[in-house]
Subunit: 368 residues, 2 copies
């Protein structure tokens, strides 16, 4: 049966549907989300060939006039050029205010298509079909859309909620090992910030999860989505507890940027970030050392931590202050109290952060 | 004294301040609107020289670190290139999430800067200082931001509310006659759709208004803003009565586009559009012929209607259907019931629209 989770945001509320093979029966769900019968499907040529064609068939049987808009894949194309290419195609396909834009792809593609849907005629109905684990548990919820600009990730974007999200875990089988694990990092993060049971379930099933057991994945994805949806419902525009979701992201983003978004996947970078946040939490006495160790152990167990070339401490430290979360030169840090509970700290002395970062760097040098 | 009108939009409510010479004392009002002391001022070099410097002084005395971002003027620059130039400068000035963007300019500049503020870091505080009558009574209220794209006006944009709008009618003295009258057309429109008294006040004071009498203008602007603010408060995203504000805009936009946005100002185009809407209203029996005549008379009196080259009826007719307001091939028309009261009609037969348009074209050929 299809699991349905509602992201509650008053007049912008929307459902997440989760089920294996959902894309083949997407038409009727998308009919509920789009006012007219005219849609465009934004995807990459690989995903369109692999999953898009059966999605198109389902759309057509539901009475839709659907056209594909194919864009290149990868973070390097998450820019204004691709954005305006999509917008040009929506215009030439004569999409109107009551038409819909559907995305079939990973986080990059969902961020791009979401921004295009937000901006075309000041916003048309948007439906997301995320095809990576990361996009399914993270990018699909909360309405963040963006492109990279001026060398800064997600510098340009807006909040725009989709009308529906269709999550089909069976598409995860074509995902590479590294891409799968980058989503697993966010899944683990959701456990750390809000649900010890979810964390333990991952600890106890690492092998089955890594082999993409479809008996296990839908439930884990649904629980993870529920956690994120609950937080986003309470704080759509990230003024309060939505910042919890940035656990591990302050150092994570700095490392991603430091290594030019190539050496580390997002998940690997935030795995490092979570290790660092855990160590900082223990150092400041916000949690016990064993709570920090348990996080590091699980991240090692799923092989999200691997040895990385020595980084320049000063540069990475400065990059943390360039983060969007920094306000007037102060960093917000999310720390663990215990598994399932985090807290926001605003005034950690720079010297403390720097010294824990120094120690952290020397420890990571000993990793496998 | 400063008039204050509140645009009520729950957590996105904001004040309009109206007063002659307000820009010289803007600092303290902008302090209330922007979380930190860092702002950038988007303007044109002419406006920056004429009004921006005293505004900067006032900002600096209020403790702001303020930098100018100068952009070229004119509809032709209301595109993605100028938008991304502004975004690049906000990035290089290192504006953060709690910084502010201020616009000092007409509608084009406010639309551009508003979109940049909406998109930079997914939205920073935005303050508008509109310098044309059109921007003061129209663009400053309601949060519409946009650029032109694919040859279509305002095709790409979003809804983003400013934190405050500072309206200084004394800047209107440097406005050209044609630019002033384009705002007057919207003022008259606000009278037609919601306030017969305002309409009459304009009828009885056309000469004083055209000579920009500063005893008269602040009151008229304030009333006009109040009307638009009231409508927008009830219908932020234009699903219902906000469409009233499009009175005269269906044919108006079609004519603007037909003449390449050069021959007619926006005000002249919607003046024609309002004449047409009035005639269509009378033709359909929605209002009496005298109500339609009174609108045409006032628009002639302020010389907003002048003879235009014959247009191709078929092309203009088709352009009306390309309007953003058209949904699945049907045009929404706003018609006058009486002065101060309009109504939305969805199902006017194309043949009726075409025959009234044919008649309208032959009448306009007889204009002075």
């Amino acid at each position: 049966l299809t699991k349905v989770i509602l992201v509650k945001l008053r007049d912008r509320s929307y459902p997440l549907y989760i089920r294996a093979d959902l894309l083949k029966q997407a038409g009727p769900l998308i009919r509920k989300a789009v006012p007219s019968r005219k849609v465009a499907l934004v995807s990459t040529s690989f995903l369109f060939k692999t999953y898009g064609r059966s999605l198109m068939k389902s759309l057509q049987s539901s009475g839709f006039c659907a056209d594909p808009i194919l864009v290149p894949d990868g973070e390097i194309h998450k820019n204004e050029k691709t954005l305006f290419n999509i917008l040009q195609k929506t215009a030439s396909l004569r999409l109107q205010r009551d038409s819909g834009l559907i995305s079939l792809g990973g986080g990059v593609l969902c961020d791009l298509a979401g921004l295009a849907a937000a901006l075309y005629m000041r916003g048309i109905a948007y439906v997301q079909c995320p095809t990576t684990l990361l996009a399914q548990v993270d990018a699909s919820i909360g309405g963040k859309t963006a492109i990279d600009f001026y060398g800064i990730k997600n510098l340009v974007g807006c909040f725009y909620q989709p009308k529906a999200v269709l999550i089909d875990p069976s598409v995860l089988v074509t995902l590479s090992e590294r891409h799968f694990k980058t989503g697993l990092a966010e899944l683990i993060k959701h456990g750390i910030i809000q649900d010890e049971r979810l964390f333990r379930k991952i600890e106890n099933n690492t092998d089955a999860i890594l082999s993409r057991d479809l008996n296990l994945l839908p439930g884990l994805i649904a629980r993870s989505c529920e956690i994120k949806a609950g937080i986003v419902s309470e704080d759509e525009r990230e003024v309060g507890k939505r910042a919890w979701l940035n656990y591990g992201h302050t150092l994570g983003h700095a490392l991603e940027s430091y290594y030019g978004y190539r050496l580390l996947t997002h998940g690997e970078a935030i795995a490092y970030g979570m290790c660092f946040a855990a160590k900082l939490s223990a150092h400041l006495g916000v949690c016990s050392p064993s709570i920090a160790q348990r996080q590091v152990r699980l991240l090692k167990q799923v092989k999200l931590l691997r040895k990385i070339p020595r980084f320049n401490l000063e540069i990475v430290f400065r990059k943390m202050f360039l983060d969007k979360k920094a306000r007037s030169g102060r960093i917000l840090f999310i720390l663990t109290r215990k598994l399932g509970l985090v807290t926001i700290k605003k005034n950690i002395p720079s010297s403390t952060i720097f010294s824990v970062l120094t120690q952290f760097q020397s420890e990571t040098r000993k990793m496998p």
